[in-house]
């Protein structure tokens, strides 16, 4: 099972590659909507990339509890 640190690195990598964020933008407590300014299309984009990477399938309900990068990491960590 990957550690939370490893998962954080994956997620940060996806955010950097797909959304052109810089390291300075990314911290565990950054809000996906308020700080990173992601909208619903970005959310699908991020979901598709993370699904490809992890083989998991995300539902809309799963995303309700996700607000920050750390939430994404915790979500993945609990399922991988």
């Amino acid at each position: 099972m990957p550690s939370t640190d490893e998962i954080y690195k994956w997620v940060a990598e996806v955010l950097k590659q797909q959304f052109h964020f810089r390291d300075a933008d990314l911290r565990p407590q950054a809000s996906l909507i308020d700080d990173l300014d992601l909208d619903s299309i970005d959310a699908i984009d991020l979901t598709v990339r993370l699904e490809e990477k992890t083989g998991l399938a995300f539902k809309e309900e799963d995303l309700k509890a996700i607000h920050t990068i750390q939430d994404v990491v915790d979500f993945l960590h609990a399922r991988l």
Partner: protein, 296 residues
């Protein structure tokens, strides 16, 4: 909606037709901004050779009235469809093979439409062909409309998905349905207020407009095909339906996405232009679509 359907059922098509003509005439006479916008649209169509031919007259007040009347005629057919009185509607369909192919492969897709022609006629056709189509609506009333549609025609498989451009729920619902092999239809000719930064500027009938990117972005992310579907009334209860494939479904690499999506939005606008030039009276955007009032 319930009341108008009840009227249609009680009064019949002919009386409703007269009532609708009267309502349309009233709107035409009182809506000066709409008339102005209408004439500007007709001039744009008239500037093209095909458009001139299809209009058959100058882009003046009479042509403008005919547009309003065409809307009334489409409305009458919509009432017939909602009232379940459209069994005798006839269709001439072009491009149905695109839908057949998807159905055979069990693939879903995004269907882009516009306020051009009658999309309720497409709903009826989908029902006859037993295809499942979900319509995305930019309204908070989707649930209520679904309830009414259920009452009116319990067997119909078309359902509305409520869409707030900021809502995750809508995009996930679209994804789920496309993955299930169903079609999701989106009217893509009007950008919604929440879509700032998600539009492509493209020249449409000679003037730049903002075409929403979301349907094409979503298709790119889901790797699903995009079909264009339009239905034009050629007489009472008679329709010519055109289905075209804008893309077979490619997932754009991130760096090419902007370009790919822009190309799709531009192709969509070009096809709308093509059909506006052939069915000029059935463009049912009656507001200042090109923002002429703002720019003048």
């Amino acid at each position: 909606m319930r009341i108008t359907v009840a009227c249609y059922r009680t009064l019949g098509r002919r009386v409703c037709g007269v009532l609708i003509d009267a309502i349309v005439a009233y709107f035409f006479l009182t809506d000066s901004a709409g008339r102005r916008a209408s004439i500007r649209y007709l001039r744009r169509v008239h500037a093209t050779r095909a458009g001139r031919r299809a209009l058959g007259r100058s882009a003046g007040t009479w042509a403008s009235f005919l547009r309003y009347r065409a809307f009334g005629r489409a409305m009458l057919d919509r009432l017939a469809i909602w009232a379940g009185k459209a069994q005798d509607f006839e269709y001439r369909v072009q491009g149905n093979e695109y839908c057949d192919r998807l159905a055979e492969a069990g693939r879903g897709g995004i269907v882009v439409g516009a306020h051009l022609g009658n999309f309720d006629a497409l709903r009826l056709l989908a029902e006859r062909q037993q295809r499942i189509v979900h319509a995305l609506m930019f309204t908070a009333h989707a649930e209520r409309i679904n309830r009414i549609l259920d009452e009116l025609s319990p067997d119909v498989e078309l359902r509305m998905i409520e869409s707030d451009p900021n809502s995750l729920k809508a995009v996930f619902e679209i994804r789920e349905r496309v993955q299930r092999g169903e079609l999701v239809s989106i009217l893509a000719d009007r950008a919604q207020p929440g879509e700032v930064g998600r539009t492509t500027e493209t020249v449409f009938l000679g003037t730049p407009v903002e075409i929403p990117q979301s349907p094409f972005l979503l298709a790119g992310l889901l790797g699903c095909p995009v079909l264009l579907m339009l239905a034009f009334q050629t007489g009472p209860g008679r329709y010519d339906v055109f289905t075209e494939q804008l893309t077979e479904g490619v997932q754009f690499p991130r760096e090419e996405r902007e370009k790919g999506v822009s190309e799709l939005s531009t192709a969509f606008a070009a096809r709308l232009e093509h059909y506006c030039e052939r069915y000029p009276y059935q463009w049912f955007n009656f507001y200042d679509y090109w923002g002429d009032d703002k720019s003048s």
